[in-house]
């Protein structure tokens, strides 16, 4: 199904800087295309915000970028190897925070983070407690997560972002249930990530702009072929 366009350089990019390029992506849900022919590319330290009303396909796009959802057409392409500085392995490291956070209620925050560290094959790096401290939830680390408040749980989920040197952050409404302090902490983390050369793709109905130079926006309404029929 995938159209083979790997070799053609995409048009709207900063040529050899592009680390991640998406080419003529079309996503379909229940046989109705949500958006079609979406192309963009991102280089080091760039962040992209996806805009669109409820049900326009933001979550679907993010999950497609993560490889969970399969696109009907088009492809996501990583320029691996060209960026020696970031030391890419054969596959990019992706962090995804979605509507469901992937935090287990029975386990404590620490245990949850340890599990995530382990499945990402990184135990040597920064410790779970430090990650929790960065989101200021270290004081809750001994409670099973089901007994945390919604915002505390979201903070635990976001702490995962510090676990590893991820190449790409995919954040689907990361500010859900966060208070102002939480959002500030998140913006801090995001700033550091971008400075270190990472990429961020996020969507949020709240106006948290990361205030970064390469911030770009895509409005999914511009890529819709027909009126939504749900």
């Amino acid at each position: 199904m995938n159209t083979e366009t790997k070799d053609i350089p995409s048009v709207d990019t900063h040529a050899n800087q592009a680390l991640l390029s998406v080419e003529s992506l079309t996503c379909v849900r229940s046989d109705i295309p949500l958006f079609s022919n979406l192309s963009f590319s991102l280089g080091k330290s760039q962040s992209l915000r996806i805009l669109g009303p409820n049900g326009s396909g933001k979550t679907t796009l993010i999950r497609t970028m993560a490889g969970i959802h399969k696109p009907a057409m088009g492809q996501v392409h990583w320029n691996i190897g060209q960026q020696g500085s970031r030391g890419f392995a054969s596959k990019p490291k992706i962090a995804y925070i979605g509507h469901t956070t992937g935090i287990r209620g029975e386990l404590t925050a620490i245990e949850n983070l340890e599990f995530h560290a382990r499945i990402n094959g990184n135990l040597s790096g920064i410790s779970p407690t430090e990650c929790l401290e960065k989101m200021n939830v270290a004081h809750c680390s001994k409670l099973p997560c089901i007994r945390l408040s919604a915002g505390q749980r979201q903070r635990v989920a976001l702490s995962r972002l510090s676990l590893n040197q991820y190449d790409l952050w995919l954040l689907d409404e990361p500010a859900t249930s966060l208070d102002d302090q939480g959002i500030d902490l998140l913006l801090d983390l995001a700033g550091h990530h971008l400075n270190a050369g990472g990429i961020i793709i996020y969507c949020s109905h709240q106006s948290i702009h990361y205030g970064l130079k390469h911030d770009r926006e895509i409005d999914l309404r511009n890529f819709k072929e027909q009126p939504p029929q749900c």
Binding site: R63, A66, G67, I68, H69, K91, I94, Y96, G98, H99, T100, T101, G102, I103, R104, G105, E106, L107, E111, F115, H116, R118, I119, N120, G121
Partner: protein, 219 residues
């Protein structure tokens, strides 16, 4: 990855000793249902004992099957594992192993006690243990396919049983006949070899089928 998932499962279920004791109590109580419902007479009990043990094994497998992947699916853990591993095969295998650790293994541990309660003579214990060792992993393997197929559905208990039980019938037949052959002094290696063959077949195929089924259900 594999170890991480198994470790987490162990931790979720048994934060303390009581979690570990539960499956053992479970088998004791399940096996004691049969003498109560059928007959307390030692001789008839011995006749039906192989069937009882194998049906208990099936039961234990089924009861834990529904939540094998569902929890992970609902709370988003499956997404995380998939992104980290890019291979559903490892995830499937890990969950199968931890499923067996909680359903098959405790039964094998308990089988000596159960054998005594059901008046199975000492000379048949080896067939009992060998058949359980070969059969219960197969149950977990085959069951995981059904669990993966129904993972997207909420009320899947009955459907899951309906899909899985027909596939369990060969294991049930050979497992029970292994023990009953030994009870009456007949050779039981034939059945054991067949069970071994089924185990090998399911080890090679089931994790792939499970992974494929999981992939289908990930949207």
């Amino acid at each position: 990855m594999l170890i991480a998932i198994i470790k987490r499962d162990l931790r979720c279920v048994s934060h303390d000793l009581s979690g570990t004791i539960q499956p053992i109590g479970f088998f004791l109580i399940i096996t004691s249902l049969f003498p109560l419902a059928v007959t307390p007479d030692p001789e008839s009990l011995q006749d039906i004992a192989p069937g009882i043990i194998w049906i208990s094994a099936l039961l234990a497998t089924l009861l834990a099957l529904d939540t094998l992947f569902k929890e992970d699916f609902i709370d988003g853990t499956m997404d995380q594992m998939f992104i980290a591993a890019s291979s559903l095969y490892v995830i499937a295998l890990a969950r199968i192993i931890s499923h067996w650790l909680f359903s098959g293994l405790p039964l094998i541990v308990m089988s000596l006690v159960i054998a005594m309660m059901l008046h199975i003579p000492a000379h048949a214990i080896d067939a009992l243990i060998v058949s359980l060792l070969l059969g219960t992993p197969t149950l977990s393997m085959v069951g995981s396919i059904g669990a993966a197929l129904t993972v997207g559905l909420r009320y899947s208990g009955v459907l899951l049983t309906l899909i899985t039980l027909p596939l369990y019938i060969p294991i049930l037949i050979f497992g029970a006949s292994c023990i009953s052959a030994d009870l009456v002094g007949l050779p039981w290696t034939g059945q054991a070899y067949l069970m071994g063959a089924m185990l090998v077949l399911s080890i090679t195929l089931a994790p792939f089928a499970t992974a494929a089924a999981l992939r289908v259900n990930m949207s």
